[in-house]
Amino acid sequence: MKKKKGKKKKKKTLLGRGEAIMSGSTVIFYLLAAITLVSALLAVTTRMIFRAAIYLLFALIGIAGIYFWLQYEFIAAVQIIVYVGGIVVLIIFSIFLTQQAGEQLPKQKLGRQLFAALASFCGLALVMLQLAQHAFVETGNKAIEPTVANIGTQMLGVEEGGYSLPFEVVSMLLLAALIGCIVIALKSKPETE
């Protein structure tokens, strides 16, 4: 209900420059972007491990909000289910089982921090430079409407552009994981003489 976008009635340019109108949808986008980036930064810098997990959660929800903003609702919902309902809960459980409440992570060496910051900054600058120098061209292909029905047919389609084979490969992986779980969970037979 919160994050919805006003109709986009502007002309489509890849970098929507030129229009400096502050519409509600633009404000919401910048808000979501700020939430995502700030909480991601906090997640990697905070020294309280549980807070790091919570900041990670906010970053992931922020990304889901950006998907909502792009009107890709199905992908946004899947993002929340998979990352929030699955992975963050998994991380929190591993924190519960391995860490002490109220303890802080050890402080990192300054040299390592500087090196990491420098490396990531250089990488960021490199990618940004590349982005600025090279333009993206539209393919002109028709986009598939990201509705649930279209995603479903595409995922199981066997004709051109269908993703049946990768889908099956991934399901094999899942099956292997399930069988592995059962094997691990099975009780070993009591040793009878």
């Binding site: 502007k10 489509k12 340019t13 890849l14 970098l15 929507g16 420059r17 229009e19 400096a20 109108i21 519409s23 633009t26 404000v27 986008f29 910048y30 972007a33 995502t36 980036l37 991601a40 930064l41 997640a43 990697v44 810098t45 491990i49 790091a52 997990a53 990670l56 970053a59 992931l60 990304i63 950006i66 998907y67 792009l70 890709y72 990352y83 991380i91 591993s94 391995t98 992570l105 050890p106 990192q108 390592r112 921090q113 090196f115 990491a116 490396a119 990531s120 900054f121 990488g123 960021l124 990618v127 940004m128 982005l131 993206f136 061209v137 539209e138 393919t139 028709k142 986009a143 409407e145």
Partner: protein, 60 residues
């Protein structure tokens, strides 16, 4: 403020990626390293979605 477009998405995802890389390098704890990897994966996802949205542009 500029109307957001593809480059905004790419900026977010790139920044997210390198935040994740920074975290991966500085952290010495397996769980926190996993968190950084999650950030990196998510930035890639965001890239996919952004390209799908803005490069295959369907004019209504």
């Amino acid at each position: 403020m500029i109307e957001p477009g593809l480059y905004h998405m790419l900026f977010i995802s790139t920044t997210l990626f390198f935040i994740g890389v920074y975290g991966f390098f500085t952290r010495r704890n397996l769980v926190t390293m996993l968190m950084s990897v999650e950030l990196i994966l998510n930035s890639v996802n965001l890239n996919f979605i952004a390209f799908n949205k803005y490069l295959w542009y369907d004019n209504e």
